[in-house]
Symmetry: C2
Subunit: 126 residues, 2 copies
């Protein structure tokens, strides 16, 4: 556990915004200016392999999610924001068979417009 790795882990633990690798890099770099992108990617991939973080893909970006409890996401179609859903919906899902495939997990993605974007839009109109 090096300072760089600690900074990366801390960055993930402190956020709920599902940052991209580049956002993690920017954050870590502000505290450890010499940290390279490669270290950030290496460490994130180590965390992935160890199942300590998950990935949420959206708009061509891989966003990293330190919340490894099964949960669902809301994604804003305007600003791209990804937010955890403290899921009552989870209980709606029975893990059932799909064809002859072996099902391991099920996840809901909810799309729409986030409150911030709606407010921005209303102000822009008025």
């Amino acid at each position: 556990m090096t300072p760089q790795r600690r900074a990366i882990v801390d960055c993930l633990a402190a956020t709920r915004v599902h940052p991209t690798a580049d956002e993690v890099f920017a954050d870590v770099n502000s505290r450890f200016p010499m940290t390279s992108r490669a270290t950030v990617y290496n460490t994130l991939n180590l965390l992935l392999d160890a199942h300590l973080v998950n990935i949420v893909e959206e708009a061509g970006l891989k966003r990293f999610d330190p919340n490894i409890e099964p949960h669902h996401h809301f994604i804003c179609s305007i600003c791209g924001m990804v937010e955890d859903i403290e899921s009552p919906e989870k209980d709606q899902l029975t893990l059932l068979n799909v064809g002859n495939h072996v099902v391991e997990s099920m996840q809901i993605t909810v799309r729409g417009k986030c409150a911030a974007c709606i407010n921005r839009g209303i102000r822009a109109d008025g």
Copy 2:
């Protein structure tokens, strides 16, 4: 509607495999050898803007889905195959509010191992 565009639309209409842009390019190019990648990407993005196709992102790839009816997907964690779910699960989902956000759609992603990959694995073992 040019021959290239028709070929791209036909390619999408004929498949259920959620091809990538490059897979569409390969298919179209086999019939119209001079078609460029730019035309494929341009046309796919036009179709997206017109809401005639959707995107399914997986493993860093954008896969194109001509099925614009709301539906769900099974994704194989081994081969990456994306398959529509003729959804009884759809009815499990009530389109409910998430925070102060405006919900527009909800989609289930089921992950696991596909039948083909399971068979391949069993043969490899035996």
